[in-house]
């Protein structure tokens, strides 16, 4: 490699090798030992088909894992708000990837949603079906403010077996699901804040409302694009 002939900017130090193209050095080839290390991995995740569905896992396994996750998070957070924020951020990562996966799996019929209502309907039906096996129970628009929408689930799968103690009155563990929605909306370029609220109704004590509050810019864009 002819790196000695190239004058590096004084701030940059030659760093360790990274695969790819470095503008000051040109294409960088990794040492052959590294290549063989990758090739020798007995199974590569890129060989798996994304269309393959994993065999379904028992709901109680999921619930156990989720409850352990909450327990762990609770120990490391100070109070309900931080706990919810953390759960939300866990879900966010899932949502980011999930949009990509669901679009890949749909193949040619996949469509990029550009309107607020359409992307919400997509979450309400498709996403909910893939995640929880059924569409959500309701999609509503807030009467008070322009930028708020609500997705309603009468019996949220994740918190089915969780009862919240009295001194955690405001906690709704569906903050995790809210995070998933937020992740999906963000990677679909609909910046929003999503929060989960328990609003019990007759016969559905766990009924949860996911409050979606879009950024101002999203509404503005929508108005410019579709106001004719």
């Amino acid at each position: 490699m002819s790196s000695q002939n190239i004058i590096n900017p004084s701030t940059s130090k030659p760093t360790g090798l990274k695969a790819g193209y470095n503008p000051s050095l040109g294409p960088i080839q990794l040492p052959s030992s590294y290549q063989s290390q990758i090739a020798s991995k007995s199974r590569n995740i890129y060989d798996h088909s994304v269309f393959r569905r994993t065999p379904e896992v028992n709901l109680s396994s999921l619930s156990f894992l989720f409850s352990a996750m909450i327990e762990q998070t609770q120990q490391t957070s100070k109070g309900v708000q931080q706990l919810e924020a953390k759960l939300n951020s866990y879900g966010y990562g899932v949502g980011n990837k999930f949009l990509e996966l669901i679009t890949l799996r749909e193949g040619k019929s996949a469509k990029r949603e550009t309107r607020i209502v359409e992307v919400l309907q997509f979450i309400h039906s498709q996403v909910w079906k893939t995640l929880f096996g059924r569409p959500a129970d309701g999609l509503e628009k807030s009467q008070d403010s322009e930028d708020e929408y609500m997705i309603i689930d009468n019996l949220p799968l994740m918190s089915q077996f969780i009862s919240v103690p009295k001194d955690f009155n405001q906690l709704n563990v569906n903050a995790f699901t809210a995070g998933i929605i937020e992740g999906i909306l963000d990677s679909a370029y609909f910046q929003a804040n999503v929060s989960a609220h328990t609003m019990a109704a007759d016969g559905y004590p766990l009924r949860t409302v996911f409050l979606i509050k879009f950024d101002h810019g999203v509404l503005e864009r929508e108005a410019i694009r579709f106001s004719r």
């Binding site: 007995s42 199974r43 995740i45 994993t54 065999p55 379904e56 028992n58 109680s60 156990f64 327990e71």
Partner: protein
């Protein structure tokens, strides 16, 4: 994490299956693999590598739902130090302890680390005595 899951999971397991007490550790192994793993993770690990004293065996997990689409980062550390599915270890330990079996559970190999198989090893230390919880005479 796994341990506290295991402690609670065993109740669910017993309630669902109604299996009775196992006569031997061999039978326990069968139940763990064919019923336990089947119910909770929908897989049936293979039981092998029994030691001659019948106290240690291995579970070979062919398809690990926890590790689906997982790849460990290539930082040279994680595939030496991290047992990605170590939560299973805790679950087994916790669950078996609740049925009076003191076992050591540990991973021997993991496909995520580039090994050929994912192998969990269970070693029976001793059978705990049935004890009545304090305050419940």
């Amino acid at each position: 994490m796994g341990y506290s899951i295991g402690i609670r999971l065993i109740e669910d397991f017993l309630a669902k299956t109604g299996t009775g007490r196992c006569v031997s550790f061999k039978e326990t192994a069968e139940v763990i693999s064919k019923i336990g793993f089947k119910i909770f993770l929908n897989i049936i690990p293979t039981i092998t590598n029994w030691t001659s004293d019948g106290k240690t065996f291995s579970l070979i997990i062919e398809e690990n739902p926890l590790a689906e689409f997982v790849e460990l980062p290539d930082d040279g550390k994680s595939n030496k130090e991290l047992w990605y599915s170590n939560v299973l270890v805790g679950v087994l330990k916790g669950a078996l302890e609740m049925v009076q079996l003191d076992v050591d559970v540990f991973f021997v190999s993991d496909v995520l680390r580039g090994d050929a198989t994912t192998e969990l090893r269970l070693k029976l230390n001793k059978i705990l005595k049935d004890e009545i919880p304090a305050g419940e005479d």
